[in-house]
Symmetry: C2
Subunit: 207 residues, 2 copies
């Protein structure tokens, strides 16, 4: 059945499990691709052009901003980050879905050009204690650094109510199954199955 792809945004505070769930989804599902951002930040060791980011210079970035070639963009510290529109629309048109790993600000920008194509999921940690444990495990940092991360997480979490779906990540396997169910269901939405009009017509032509 011919269908129109959808834009799946997964956001969460750092430490709630977003990256693990996104990777799991990409590994488990076909016909979904990750949106690769562009950035003016230099590559870190091990980062690959076109996989982790497209690394571009600031002149190019600003040119693209002026041409409105980004679905969303932001400045974080000294560097610019943006989601190029062209590959996203090409994927949707060909019936593939696109997964976005962006925060609530990016989601708000994206919503303006996405309309009915956007499906947004917010991942929450099961408890504050668990979030703190994950943020501590992740880096051997001072109490102050962890506290700052927790404050940032609390700030990010204040935007949960702007999302279509909410998953509380008690268990990665269960949460991944839930995320896959959301994708499966949204693909079955009547409005996305653009080949359905012709198909039902063919079914009804029997008479």
């Amino acid at each position: 059945m011919e269908r129109r792809g959808l834009m799946l945004v997964v956001s969460s505070p750092s430490g709630a499990g977003k990256t693990t769930l996104s990777r799991g989804l990409l590994a488990a599902e076909r016909e979904i691709v990750m949106s690769v951002s562009m950035t003016t930040r230099p590559p870190r060791p091990g980062e690959m052009e076109g996989k982790d980011y497209f690394f571009i210079d600031e002149v190019t970035f600003n040119l693209m901003v002026n041409r409105q070639e980004f679905l969303e963009h932001a400045k974080v510290f000294d560097y610019y980050y943006g989601t190029p529109a062209k590959p996203v629309f090409a994927a949707l048109q060909s019936g593939r879905d696109v997964l976005f790993d962006i925060d609530w600000q990016g989601t708000q920008q994206l919503a303006q050009s996405a309309r009915d194509d956007l499906v947004s999921v917010f991942i929450l940690p099961p408890s504050t204690a668990e979030l703190e444990r994950r943020l501590k495990r992740r880096a051997q940092d001072s109490a102050q650094v962890v506290a700052r991360r927790m404050a940032k997480a609390a700030d990010e979490m204040s935007h949960w109510a702007e999302y279509d779906y909410v998953i509380v990540n008690h268990d990665v396997e269960a949460s991944l199954a839930q995320l896959r169910s959301i994708l499966t269901a949204e693909r079955l939405r009547r409005t996305r199955q653009v080949g359905m009009v012709e198909f039902v017509k063919s079914l009804r032509e029997w008479q």
Copy 2:
């Protein structure tokens, strides 16, 4: 997580597999109950009061219509059928979902009292040939009877575009998995997880 139940309507032309899928869903999922209709039709052999139908007399039926105690009702041939509202709202309130086996006319009526609680799924047969095969297998009837059923199916199918989701039933197992995904996803909708406001508040109170 405290949540508000949803009303899941599954409609299809006769022969598309709706009954099999509904039974499969009820067997596989917890916290979902079947809506039991009331009817003035006398019970057929083997039908059980409160399971297949609630069998009531016409005076009672009309009284309930006047009191607006039905979510939807209709006259089919000589008998009346209706969905009593009270058990449905009680189930939703307690966080259970309710499954409805009704046609497009019932769905339209139901939508008026259901608002955001309604999730509707239309099941289509994979082909006209397969639909005809299923309608023939089901009863040893004349070509004329099968033709009339096919015409009725074609009429029912003309309402597919009034539903939220569409499943083409190529294979019962795959379709059941899709139906379960729809239920799982809809339960994860932010608006249905009424306990989430307090939960996120507790997460953010850490600071």
